[in-house]
Symmetry: C2
Subunit: 313 residues, 2 copies
């Protein structure tokens, strides 16, 4: 995975799909506007992407890079990746089958159906839904999409970093990125290749990358907490593991209370409605977990907005 | 009121107050991304301004242009203008007294108190609160701020248009602007001076400018409906009347249902949380009230986000 792959993904997504994959705003603010003692904070408003998260980039890239059989695309996920896959399939006019566990919210299932996906609700846990998905894939031959651990998915996510650099007109000093399975940070770090300091952020209660680093290899981790619906991958992806070992020095954990405070602050002070997973960057700054230099430009990647808005009231 | 006044206001707001008055993003999208048959739609995300609406620009400009007595600033308003006045006063470290009618929401009163304002709840209607405010002002000598009908307030609002032109790198063809008392459209139209077509939008149930045009002069109008908390001025301001007579050809009315549909569409499809008053532009496009040419660039000004987020669920 390198910048050339990401350039190619960006071209692919732009050609004929500029109405679908949005160039989301990069909002440059003085640090003080966010109560942060640094020169500038850049907010990449990727929560405004189609499907309400960055995932649409990787999913459409996956679909554009592969022949799609008549049976379409298939994925196991109850979250943002499934919404993105369903939206990308609709964009290309191909069928989409989504396997979700019985614990997934009826609201998300409804959203998937609105996007035209066939929703199969099965199994008490994600692993069960995945198993059923894989069995079905062997039967139908549909194109399998993974939420974070496929090269095309990572390259698609990397186009966010490419956009940040182009819109910013220069490099930020640091980029704070939330980590679930690691597809986003793998793409971001592959683009910057150390030219900007990419910082991995995880909830204390979903420390997938943090525990892998402690163990020296990807390991299964128990996940829970306020951001688990988006960052609750049990194990860091293989691509993310390799890329972060090479390009990411800092992996920080944040308590749920700091994440929730930052989420509410973003709504009340900035009128940005984001899901908890997208608030980890500001939580790191407000809690002091990440202390920028006075002359630093910090970029926060607001990665999703698939939330129940009444939770902001 | 002319572009020179607006240039001066922009300089004033930037010098030392760049952390307070935010340069809000201008989001350029293909028309198709919003389901609109035109070349481009530009969304000016001014709902992300300090205090959750464009009003902070005019209020801070009013305060910076005048000597502020020890008694501070005083205003009668239950809405976005009061929040902006309280925030601007806090920015300058001067007292702020706000008169609100008994019908104003406890949530808004609480927000005003959090900003450090002295809140006086009096009178069943806005007119009663205003009368009490004016009596108090004669007593204290505080600087009176008006929600929309003062030159400094209009010039501050005009800086939004200046920013749109600078960020866009060119003129949009049309700019769709919601009208309450008319402070915003007066500033916008004064900046463009006919170089872009400024279109006035009002709810059918708050037709302040529309009825003034029918009568040939400002008249009192009954106001109600989904956007009345922000667009419910009973009478168009004198400055807005003069400016729109000169520079605004089109004044359109929109039904509440179209406004509410557009508000929900902006949340569900774009993850933009805005108040009903900010959804009139998209309502005009989606309902066909404003039909752009195929090669047109339409700019929508999203003017506020002071809403209860649970109303988006």
């Amino acid at each position: 995975m390198n910048p050339t792959d990401i350039d190619a993904a960006a071209r692919r997504l732009r050609e004929g799909h500029a109405h679908f994959i949005r160039e989301t705003p990069l909002w440059k603010l003085p640090g003080r506007a966010l109560g942060v003692d640094c020169a500038e904070v850049w907010l990449k408003l990727e929560q405004l992407q189609t499907g309400g998260s960055f995932k649409a980039r990787g999913m459409l890239n996956r679909l554009l890079c592969n022949p799609i059989p008549a049976s379409g695309v298939i994925i196991a996920s109850g979250g943002n990746a499934a919404i993105a896959a369903a939206a990308a399939a609709a964009e290309l006019g191909v069928p989409c089958e989504v396997f979700v566990p019985t614990t997934s919210s009826p609201a998300k299932q409804q959203k998937l159906r609105e996007l035209g996906a066939q929703v199969v609700v099965t199994g008490a846990a994600y692993a069960d839904a995945l198993e059923a998905c894989l069995a079905r894939q062997r039967q139908t031959g549909a194109l399998l999409a993974h939420a974070y651990d496929q090269p095309e998915v990572v390259a698609g996510a990397g186009t966010v970093a490419r956009e940040i650099e182009a819109q910013g007109g220069r490099l930020p000093d640091s980029v704070l990125v939330s980590v679930g399975g690691g597809g986003l940070i793998a793409g971001i770090a592959s683009w910057f290749e150390g030219r900007a300091r990419v910082v991995a952020l995880e909830p204390e209660r979903a420390p997938t990358l943090y525990q892998a680093r402690a163990a020296g290899e990807p390991v299964d981790v128990a996940v829970s907490g306020v951001a688990a619906d988006a960052l609750g991958a049990k194990r860091i992806g293989n691509i993310a593991w390799t890329v972060t070992q090479q390009h990411v020095k800092d992996a920080l954990l944040l308590p749920d209370a700091a994440i929730r405070d930052a989420q509410l602050w973003l709504w009340k002070q900035m009128k940005l409605a984001v899901e908890p997973a997208a608030a980890l960057g500001l939580a790191a700054l407000h809690s002091g977990a990440w202390k920028p230099r006075a002359d630093e430009t910090v970029c926060l990647l607001l990665c999703g907005a698939n939330l129940d808005p009444s939770t902001l009231a």
